[in-house]
Assembly symmetry: C2
Homo-oligomer: 342 residues x 2
């Protein structure tokens, strides 16, 4: 917990890379006497690129990430009155890091050393930055839900992960799952099959601008099918008060989300469970049944608000690394800290 | 029911176009005194092309279909000692006819008149040829299930259709649905979520040759994802005797299939329900719960064997057209008979 340069604490660089682009934050390293880094720590400034980092044959393209990161970081340093050599640590969180992170793991350590002289680096799955953003370095569990759904928990020694397997193998209870169930109910109404909802059918016809018989032609040719399905979630949520089928879909989603949370909570102790991600923005239609399900499946859970977002989480990781205070479990795929980083 | 050329009854041409290629049958038109055409009627001969008909911006490409069909038909006629001018009617069944059949509906009547001088033509969705193959022209219901699942029924005046909406919007209980549920159970076992099956996980690791954590990387980059999911169905069926999770998946599939059958059965009378398609080849693991579900949801149903396959169904349609005896409901999308065809 000592810092070799307390008189010039320097900066950390935090990166959040995902399908909607690249977000970068520059934050000051707290002096050694300050409190341990927490989520939602003050940031000097952030920069955003709307261009998602390319994915190539080796996975997420390290060169393309550096091309965007270096000028963004230099601009932030310039505004803050800092210099590249003042960067003490970098944390990069990326969607797909576990499965598509080989190129990043191979090339980022050298590229960042060359660009900024920085050797302390953490490469984190987006679920890990979501965790650190929500709970800091405390034990507990985080459910991150948007189009997909993943739960991640730790008691401090190792990560437990549940779901996050994508829209055809899991992501049960996430946005694409809920939207798909809503459209299934709309088509069941058309067919006269059990489980149909006339209200969801009417909302689908309005939302997708045409009869539901046209849905296959509108959905299947797209490359962003999970996002198209998830776009229907707010309609399902709006119907839930009046429509038992829509309410049942959200009840079933709550069941699946609670199952994932229960699988990752550290055993035996009371466990903080933070819910984070855009899906929970739909509000009580999902949150009320989810809290009920959590109380049934995981009575020792205590639902808490997320302190910050995944970019905040990357700041937590980088700051901890700069202060020799990284307490979250290292893991080759979920939270990779290359040798020589600390 | 009269035939203008009883002394030279001629031939009908039947076509079944799908994802695995083009199948063509040439069948003799029965004399007017013969029994009405039935499914499984004798065929002179069949020809097969393994090249699926291309789908272009206008849907299934009529020109590409004709390029393959004309030489295949001429070869069959040559073997049978017939001539192009002896063809009395043509029926074309195609997967996607309802949504992708515009080019066929626009260009096939003229192209077939030019190639063979034939004016009697039926363009049928593959579900209609499956129906005619299974039940001939009798009222009833047919469930066609392979990778997908669709039910079609009629009392003789109009078609009722249920499901067949594809792997993201429906096809509930079909092959992709069952395979996906099996892999979900495998991943639930890995995660420690409720609903997991260690046996399905072990089978998935053997079948897909590696840990289930690699499944997303093996599935999502493919363009034939529904077929990949459905390829796991035999493993789910094999596990059902020993594994309650696998048995529960097939029970749930049976429920969905029975829901679709119940939605399309002609009302109020006893109803023949024929099960057709590759999915039912997995046997009792699915058939036993399905017959139970049918007896609960649709007690007036009588499960029968399909008399023939979709190519047989196209022969039924073409023969009925040749004899002025088409009794199945005409429908712009499901069973299109262009004006001037009869």
């Amino acid at each position: 917990m000592t810092n070799s340069s307390t008189h010039q604490p320097g900066w950390v660089l935090a990166v959040d890379s995902g399908g909607s682009g690249l977000r970068v934050a520059l934050a000051p390293v707290p002096s050694a006497g300050d409190a341990a880094p927490a989520a939602g720590a003050d940031r000097a400034d952030t920069a955003v690129s709307r261009q998602p980092v390319r994915t190539g044959p080796g996975g997420i393209d390290a060169g393309h990430l550096m091309e965007q990161l270096v000028p963004m970081a230099n601009a932030l340093l310039g505004e803050a009155g800092g210099d590249g050599k003042d960067i003490r640590a970098v944390a990069v969180g990326a969607a797909g890091m576990a499965t598509l992170g080989d190129d990043l793991r191979e090339h980022l350590p050298g590229a960042l050393a060359e660009a900024f002289g920085v050797r302390r680096l953490a490469l984190a799955a987006d679920a890990v930055t979501a965790y650190a953003g929500a709970l800091g370095q405390r034990p507990g569990a985080v459910v991150a839900a948007g189009t997909g759904m993943i739960a991640l928990g730790t008691e401090g020694r190792k990560w437990r992960r549940a779901d996050g397997w994508g829209h055809l193998l899991g992501d049960c209870g996430g946005g694409a799952w809920i939207g798909r169930a809503g459209l299934d109910a709309a088509l069941r109404d058309l067919d006269g099959r059990r489980g149909g909802s006339a209200l969801l059918r009417a909302r689908a016809e309005e939302f997708f601008d045409g009869p539901v018989t046209e849905l296959p032609g509108k959905l299947y040719p797209r490359t962003d099918r999970p996002a198209v399905l998830a776009s229907f979630v707010p309609e399902v949520a709006r119907c839930a008060a009046d429509d038992p089928v829509a309410a049942g879909i959200l009840q079933a989603a709550a069941l699946h989300i609670a199952e994932a949370a229960a699988a990752v909570c550290p055993p035996e102790t009371e466990c903080e469970v933070a819910l984070t991600g855009g899906l929970f923005g739909i509000g009580d239609a999902l949150l009320v049944p989810l809290k009920e399900e959590l109380s049934v499946q995981l009575p020792r859970a205590r639902a808490v608000s997320a302190e910050g977002n995944p970019l905040d989480g990357a700041v937590v990781l980088a700051t901890a690394l700069a202060l020799d205070a990284l307490a979250l479990p290292r893991d080759g795929r979920l939270l990779h800290v290359p040798e020589g980083s600390d």
